[in-house]
Symmetry: D2
Subunit: 286 residues, 4 copies
Amino acid sequence: MSDALRATLLVSCRDRTGLVAALSDFVFRNGGNIVDADQHAEAETGQFFMRLVWDLASFRLDRRGIDAGLTALGQAFELTYELTYSDQRPRVAVFASKTPHCLYDLLLSHQLRELRGELVAVVSNHEDLRTTAGHFAVPFFHVPVEPGQRARAEARQQELLAELRVDLVVLARYMQILSPELVARWPSRIINIHHSFLPAFVGARPYHQAKARGVKVIGATAHFVTAELDQGPIIAQDVCHVSHRDDVDDLIQKGRELERQVLTRAVRLHLDHRVLVSENRTIVFG
Amino acid sequence: MSDALRATLLVSCRDRTGLVAALSDFVFRNGGNIVDADQHAEAETGQFFMRLVWDLASFRLDRRGIDAGLTALGQAFELTYELTYSDQRPRVAVFASKTPHCLYDLLLSHQLRELRGELVAVVSNHEDLRTTAGHFAVPFFHVPVEPGQRARAEARQQELLAELRVDLVVLARYMQILSPELVARWPSRIINIHHSFLPAFVGARPYHQAKARGVKVIGATAHFVTAELDQGPIIAQDVCHVSHRDDVDDLIQKGRELERQVLTRAVRLHLDHRVLVSENRTIVFG
Amino acid sequence: MSDALRATLLVSCRDRTGLVAALSDFVFRNGGNIVDADQHAEAETGQFFMRLVWDLASFRLDRRGIDAGLTALGQAFELTYELTYSDQRPRVAVFASKTPHCLYDLLLSHQLRELRGELVAVVSNHEDLRTTAGHFAVPFFHVPVEPGQRARAEARQQELLAELRVDLVVLARYMQILSPELVARWPSRIINIHHSFLPAFVGARPYHQAKARGVKVIGATAHFVTAELDQGPIIAQDVCHVSHRDDVDDLIQKGRELERQVLTRAVRLHLDHRVLVSENRTIVFG
Amino acid sequence: MSDALRATLLVSCRDRTGLVAALSDFVFRNGGNIVDADQHAEAETGQFFMRLVWDLASFRLDRRGIDAGLTALGQAFELTYELTYSDQRPRVAVFASKTPHCLYDLLLSHQLRELRGELVAVVSNHEDLRTTAGHFAVPFFHVPVEPGQRARAEARQQELLAELRVDLVVLARYMQILSPELVARWPSRIINIHHSFLPAFVGARPYHQAKARGVKVIGATAHFVTAELDQGPIIAQDVCHVSHRDDVDDLIQKGRELERQVLTRAVRLHLDHRVLVSENRTIVFG
């Protein structure tokens, strides 16, 4: 991962005619160098998506100037866009419960500088993972969720997220269902890991379901959280082969491996500004 | 694949105490050499499964003697078993419609002597694949299925299967649903390929469903056919990664690759007498 | 695969400053619509690579005009480029010997219209595959290679390739080594399949080498042929898992599956104009 | 993983005639129940290998009796064998240097009770990983390896391994080469992770080698350490796909994922007594 200062632009619009030319001309005319560009036209919806990264080393506009330029282009082409700079590291809160494997993977990736973001908090409804967070020097917040008291817990969580200026929430095997209200406040900004290759085995105890159905592959799915459980846009999925020899405990163990890989991969893609949402699907610029 | 004469025994029973000792003693006492042995105890059902292969080169019992010996053991241990000899090649009929890729894969595997069975017929409701069958010198039978006339077509199919002494029916993208009556006559002896990683996307047009849901993997599933559509015991599954770039046609193309591999793999496993069914699951001795 | 008329431009150059803007402006200004664009900057060599596809439906330049425009841009930016139109289908000759699996896969893909090219000839040093070619209505040419007579055989092959106006040669398990002279005439236009995950197990009998080394994965590699045996730029590779149970014959059988998939994938990528060569490596715009 | 008390027998011999019968009879006659049995006959060497697991719950022989019985069978059939009981947990020392990912994976697997052994020490030539070991409550020993002082360091390591009664040494990206003398004392009891799909890219900086060769897959290999560097029997391997977009740092990052998975998998297999060595290959009873 380069440390050069860069701008990344994620764009969606309906009609792309002239857009690529206009955007590349905007970058070129102001002394920028396009480092990466990717695009996708979706036949089904008629939408066009683009990711453009350019080097700011000798760019002649400052951020205010870039804003002005993009505002003008955005109006001309009716763009929805998101602009980020590589020195703005998104702030991430990880929600977890008791199982540590997904949390460890995120913390270690962070420590190894594989994530373009800051882990600023581990939030949990249990105390078990406090020392894990502490080992990696990430603040830990215990927010218990008493039966029937979800609203109160979520109020505290919201407060924390606001105080810590969190940009992204990652549910790393967090065993509570978030309210539609909380979800609605964080559109495309909560990533969950589900322990099946969705849409197979939605809901609880997917490894038990998998064993009962006798499948020969199991999987894990990272997706954005929406109001409908397990139905949000899928960011990443992976699977591994299993056999009749694997009992439910074996599936759980093999699944752990998948869950942490797939979740960390999805978080990494999101923090690299590679993920766009279109209706209930994602465009992932790999 | 060795050409030595061998016996393969597939066994299920409730209690295995002493069974392995009794069976291996039976083989040893009569001058046989155990070439392969595999077993599985299923905690959920309390069932025990075993596959035993032995060399008949210097075995002192003839087939009548083996029958007698196994009958005695079968009663002593309350076994369900199936005994086959490597010189008895199961006879296979492939049902297909118009799409050729799965059929080609089976025909070529057969020609390359990768299948321990004989392809004795290609049966189709269309004429399109006649020359394909002919190219590989496999007899082709056109059995049209007129709307509302399935019973008549199935009567003709049954007649053919009986005449040709068929042991296994393979549905290689055969686009007709078999009646419960026909299915009931062929328990664990009809293998179908479904173009999704079941239980995701049951029913029609799974690649369209996959595109709509935005999954990042697609799959194929080979399973035994039962009365309930897409619900039979799964023999083999595989998946491949896809992205937002893949439109439905791309999924169909990538899926073809999976379908033929998974179907041929399942047929090969079955013809090697490696597949046992327990309730709605398979034990596959790999 | 869309049937709309399109132009595909593959470009390499040293300095990309302004290039993306210039090319997209060229397309836009003349009424074209960019359908796909991908680029890669190679840090090691300082080279820049780009693939640009645009729709010609309402493009205001004819092919002569496009040529003129690109010639000007090519000089301005010191480009090496290759321009193709989607109605120009590259002509492909497949060289094979006796083993049919790779040839079948190519022929079937062609028949299923998965390849953007025409298979115009099967050339073989044996007669065995004549009927296979014939079944798919592709002309078959028997060019025997007598010991010590390679030069004579290659002269005949060259003649054939010239007569048939062949653009790409695919070695589908062709068991003869081509002379450096012939290879030199077809730079980046001969694709071979090697039955190992190169650079492991170069040379002969890789599955025997794999068995002897006790590896747990085997693989296949499609690469452009260069004067140095098994050293050319790699286009595609894949592997599968094996175990101690697999004897050399099993490895050969599993390998067949890999070989044909990997070779067909590489040919498809090349015919889609997605492959560029840089020194001894490929850029594959996926 | 069941907690029932079990015996596991790993056997190699030249001639298996009657052996399976004799062993299963030994277990049955003394009231044991065979829980798992697997076998392999190696055509190339004429060797026979077997793994037999039985339940000791109602076994009528104590360990002394089992020893006597197996000694007799061992002489009769000229067996080499290893007998272990499930309440004897092998003691494992992990050697590491500075990179933490493989060590974390082993420590976490241990904490999650996925390993049938005890991690009794982390031994390192640097201080960096002391807190990591401490976090998981595993003793850490700093054994510096000064230039030209390997013998002294190895003497200290041997002392430690003896004191701690270590059964298995795992090199988790330990960046020192062990002397042939140390290796000779630990035949088939030192597991190393090499960061390539051996035999490709032996030696140093395999990811740089992989980038230079332009491969489309990278891999990792866990193997027993022998006197010849990177040449020992392979226990487990895995690979992942890469592209021209991956620079050496990306390969290193993707490789980390492979390295820790493959190493932990190999250690788990060994601790489950599933790995036998035959010449320079392994039999892995999966």
